[in-house]
């Protein structure tokens, strides 16, 4: 597949240009709409399809090996925290799937470390990382083994 853009649905907003990891969604200067300028570097990651507010971007399987007449459509709803897929086979078979994309309101539970407790020098000199050892949920210290073990190799 590679992505393509429907002429009548695209309004040239550029969300796809902003998100494409391969940097291949560009705005055509003449028609002022987005297009895939290098389909052979498209990973079919659907980032642009998901980001398009007008559902103007679709995918047609790669010409090398995918006959036409199929579709895999997606709707990602951040507020609801879900993603819905509809797969249409060339022979008409349809399969629907829906999955969660998050369990929490966006970003709310990600800490702003700059505002948290400052680590002390003892922690700095130790091997622990942020949230450790508590974050390992083991009620124990960070595991450690003797160096000599690695020199020999951990054998069976």
């Amino acid at each position: 597949m590679s992505t393509f853009v429907y002429m009548t649905r695209c309004d040239g907003c550029g969300h796809c240009v902003d998100i494409c990891p391969s940097d291949i969604m560009h705005i055509d200067e003449t028609i002022r709409r987005a297009k895939n300028i290098e389909p052979n570097f498209c990973w079919e990651c659907y980032s642009c399809v998901k980001a398009c507010p007008n559902h103007a971007i679709d995918v047609r399987g790669y010409a090398d090996f995918a006959p036409m007449g199929h579709s895999v459509r997606v709707r990602r709803e951040e507020e609801k925290g879900t993603i819905s897929w509809k797969i249409k086979f060339r022979n008409g078979t349809v399969k629907d799937f829906i999955s969660p994309i998050t369990t929490k309101p966006w970003g709310k539970f990600i800490p702003k470390l700059a505002d948290g407790d400052k680590p002390n020098q003892g922690e700095m000199n130790s091997q622990i990382l942020y949230s450790e050892p508590q974050g390992l949920n083991t009620n124990e210290e960070l595991p450690k083994v003797e160096k000599s073990v690695f020199k020999k190799g951990v054998y069976y």
Partner: protein
Amino acid sequence: MARKTIYEECDVLVVGGGMAGTGAAFEARHWGRDLKIICVEKANIDRSGAVAQGLYAINCYMGMQWGENMPEDHVRYARNDLMGLVREDLGYDMARHVDSTVHMFDEWGLPMMKNKEGRYQREGKWQIMIHGESYKPIVAEAAKKSADKIYNRIMITHLLKDESKQNRIGGAVGFNMRTGDYYVFKSKTVIVAAGGASHIFKPRAVGEGMGRTWYAPWSNGSAYALPIAVGAKMTQMENRIVLCRFKDGYGPVGAYFLHLKTYTQNANGENYEKKWYEKTKELVGEYIDHHPTPTCLRNHAFIQEVMAGGGPIHMVTKEAFQDPHLETIGWENFLGMTVGQAVVWASQNIDPKYTNPELTTSEPYVMGSHATCSGAWVSGPEDIAPDDYFWGYNRMMSVEGLFGAGDTVGGSAHKFSSGSFTEGRLAAKAAVKYIQDKKANGIQVSERQYQNLKEVIYKPMENYTVGRNEITGGTVSPSYISPIQGLQRLQKIMDEYVGGITYNYMTNENTLKKRTRVARMVARRS
């Protein structure tokens, strides 16, 4: 050329905003409260790196809280899978920290599947299942909250060396993908968290489908190009990874093998792996008897069977897919991380409930976070690394102040997404310590150094700008070649001399020597 030069100074420069880079940017803030932390990404960190598309499993989780595995178990596993060629200190270190990383992801909102006891649902011994469509945007948010600045759409091309002390890092340079402006980052430390190398070998699909590589097509090998150019010591760069995947879409097989319990067979419906047992044993000895069988040996049997005429090889899915729950997992597994495979099956009317889909072996890749060990030779952690594997700071390369994580670090396979994020955290803490210990004082980077690199970077554009007026049009010029032409030239050399698909992955000393001669010749002039 009227290209601006933008100059910026910082303490910690993270190159690449994928799993390793976001981990580094996040952790650096915890330890370095007053430091200036910058993360530079060539795409947009909300959807960049190998996890841009999402993941349906976290492939590295110990489960120490439930007594499932300990770090040393993972060391044995990874060591066996790589047939002995791993840095056990690095693997152990990653594994002992990885659970805290995964617990954070859970807390941040990543949907983890749970079993009846409330534990993370296992796909296999090391893998846990997630609904990870938004894995990358979630971890990106953590990096954004921590870093002083995230630069999207800036491609770092070279590292800068300090001019006051030998073998010490001084920063990095690159260009803006949108404006073409030149960016200079003078930095006390650099953490290379860039991607491994897709597309250095000729891919199986050569037309429109060329981008449907197993690893992301935007993984362009910066993980290695950057350190190599400043003289960092590397390890196992000859270790190519070849994947057994569903044909054309490269849909992953992990969940199918481990969770759905599907299995492979040759065209005659036989278990071909058994057939190659004796021959493989002659080659590798006892490894063929180990459990689990090293992945490369299973792939070896696949390749031998196809060469012997037993192909096509199929995955037997018809049994498992009769269970609607397993069928859903089978499809969602693709939709969560390799949508292209669902597209291929929809287009070819392959419903695994009624048809056993075909498998293939991919073109080779070079990377260091999946089941391979390519990358930089780095220092281990102080408390467990053997003396000759430790030189001051965890994950520091053989160049002072230059750290690595994820694909960049060699010798520590089976990190996957969670382990790469964890390794970014390890590198970041060490980088902060390096600065705290005043190891980065007095770094000098002259304007001459970065102006020279500017010339190198923009030379192809100049060649093109001048050369295009020499011809009437089209892609054929006597003065320049286009990026795709250069890439295809590389792919042909690698394919034919370094063991690509055309030669059935075979190479030898003589073809490698020939490759070196040919490469020198064709690289000299564009």
